[in-house]
Amino acid sequence: MRDILAQRIILGDPEAFELLFRKYYLRLCGFANKFLNNFNEAEDIVQEVFTTLWENRELIDSDNSLKAYIFRITQNLSINKLRRKGVESRYTEVYKLVYIDHKESSDFESLLGKELEENINLAIDRLPPGCSKVFRMSRVEGLKYEEIATALNISVKTVESQMSKALRILRTQLDEYGSIS
């Protein structure tokens, strides 16, 4: 079934292309953003991925996974962008260390078969109640630890430990999901 989509795109079917776009746009933005930590830059990169993909659609190999292909293009463009970045924030150093100095860290193949990110809401709901609440307040509402602590009437230390716990549990779940199919 997947191959049909690739074939239709190679033949120049905009509808098939839109389907691919709608399916992967968010995931690719999230993926690009792990290198860039900047929502706008991530969106720009992913839009570039799709325009490049369409303009070079004859290069698509319908025998290979189209999904892996678009993730790879996204990764290459994101890492190029990261490389060109100055040390505008202390955070960029860490991303450069992990994804440029140690290329192997950015291996993403293992992630492709995993559905956790698609069910991320469910996964977060399944966290222990305190964890899930703290995680959502931090990630969805963008609140600082101190603000969360005040809102929930708990200590900042507790917020810290709940956040660490949430990430650790989610990572373990990610590991448990099946490998690439």
Partner: protein, 357 residues
């Protein structure tokens, strides 16, 4: 500070300079550490993409891309028809909030023109055969729409109350709001919820209407004047012909698996299995022998193609099949593939073209 805490503080922007140095040293030390960092970083940003509304706007992005590439924009009136193929099962919250916005805009424009309100401020969301949709309504209620299903509501949705109509099958994850109950109209039935997760199946070609409650509370109103409250894990089955309702306990997973793109059957008769396969893959199925209609199958299919499913069923059951495919290249209308199912005793011509192109 332990390493786990270093990562989470880094991601949330709470890390001090000293902590940053400590994190860098830890990352330099061991590839395993970088792997952990990479996974949590990935999760953090995927969570940002998937659970934060308005983080990314897929519709805006699509408009940019399609105008850049010179695609023709579809005409969009106040009636929005939003088709999603099974390939694009997952659609973003952002894009659907946009969809809801179009609905609202159509409504406002229409009101502005001083015309009377009518069917034109209806928003219609449909999934064709072989397609599924995933949508978020204006109040963040999440809906999975199975293939061959239609969901509709008008401009007053989430203003006065929350009423929608469904034909086909949908799974609802209702945003809690006790002042505005969420009501699904199916045929003569009403399913009412406040905040909960439930599935409703009401296909026109199926005499049964099923309401299955996964979590929370719902009640089903039956004509003329009866309310049945469901508990978690219960299913109400209403027979349109006999107008009788039966309540029983089920494993809800069986009835909601379709939204994970799973076809799940537990002791299901062949007839039902084939009806679902036909809907899911956009194929016509003909069962040629009466005696196999009630054969029972238990199976879960996820990524399998129609050919693979049929092959497996043939292996485990006394059935045979033949697929008749039309040539896609031919001029004119696309004709659905047809599947003939027969009992193994009756000889079916050897299927000629087993490989899907």
């Amino acid at each position: 500070m332990d390493n786990q805490e270093l990562i989470s503080k880094f991601l949330t922007g709470e890390l001090t300079d000293a902590g940053l140095e400590q994190l860098k040293q830890w990352l330099e030390k061991d590839p395993e550490n970088r792997k952990i960092f990479n996974q949590e970083n990935e999760l953090w940003h995927q969570a940002g993409a998937h659970i934060r509304p308005y983080t990314y706007n897929a519709d805006q992005a699509w408009q940019k891309i399609s105008s850049k590439l010179g695609f023709k924009e579809e005409e969009r009136g106040n009636v929005v028809i939003f088709n999603k193929s099974r390939f694009s099962f997952m659609v973003a919250a952002a894009s659907i909030l946009f969809l809801a916005a179009i609905g609202a805009l159509g409504y406002l424009l229409f009101q502005g023109a001083g015309s009377q309100r009518g069917v034109r401020d209806q928003t219609i969301i449909s999934s064709n055969v072989g397609e599924k949709s995933h949508i978020f309504l204006a109040d963040s209620t999440e809906v999975f729409l199975n293939s061959k299903s239609i969901l509709s509501f008008d401009g007053s949705y989430n203003k006065k109350g929350r009423e929608i109509s469904l034909s086909g099958e949908g799974f609802f994850n209702v945003r809690s709001n006790s002042t505005k109950p969420f009501v699904v109209h199916v045929d003569q039935l009403l399913v009412t919820a406040t905040g909960t997760r439930f599935n409703v199946s009401a296909y026109a070609d199926d005499p049964r209407i099923e309401a299955t409650l996964e979590e929370g509370r719902i009640f089903v109103s039956l004509p003329p004047d009866m309310k049945i409250f469901l508990k978690e894990g219960e299913q109400l089955v209403y027979d349109r012909k006999t107008k009788k309702a039966v309540l029983h306990t089920v494993s809800t997973r069986t009835y909601t698996a379709w939204k994970e793109n799973e076809l799940r059957f537990v002791d299901a008769p062949l007839e039902e299995v084939m009806r679902k396969i036909g809907r899911n893959f956009n194929v016509d199925v003909v069962i040629e022998n009466q005696e196999i209609l009630n054969l029972k199958f238990t199976a879960t299919f996820t990524d399998e193609s129609v050919d693979e499913i049929l092959q497996m069923m043939k292996m485990v059951g006394p059935i045979d099949y033949k697929i008749i495919r039309q040539n896609l290249q031919e001029e004119g209308e696309y004709v659905k593939p047809k599947i003939l199912i027969s009992s193994k005793k009756t000889s079916v011509q050897k299927q000629t073209n087993m490989k899907s192109k």
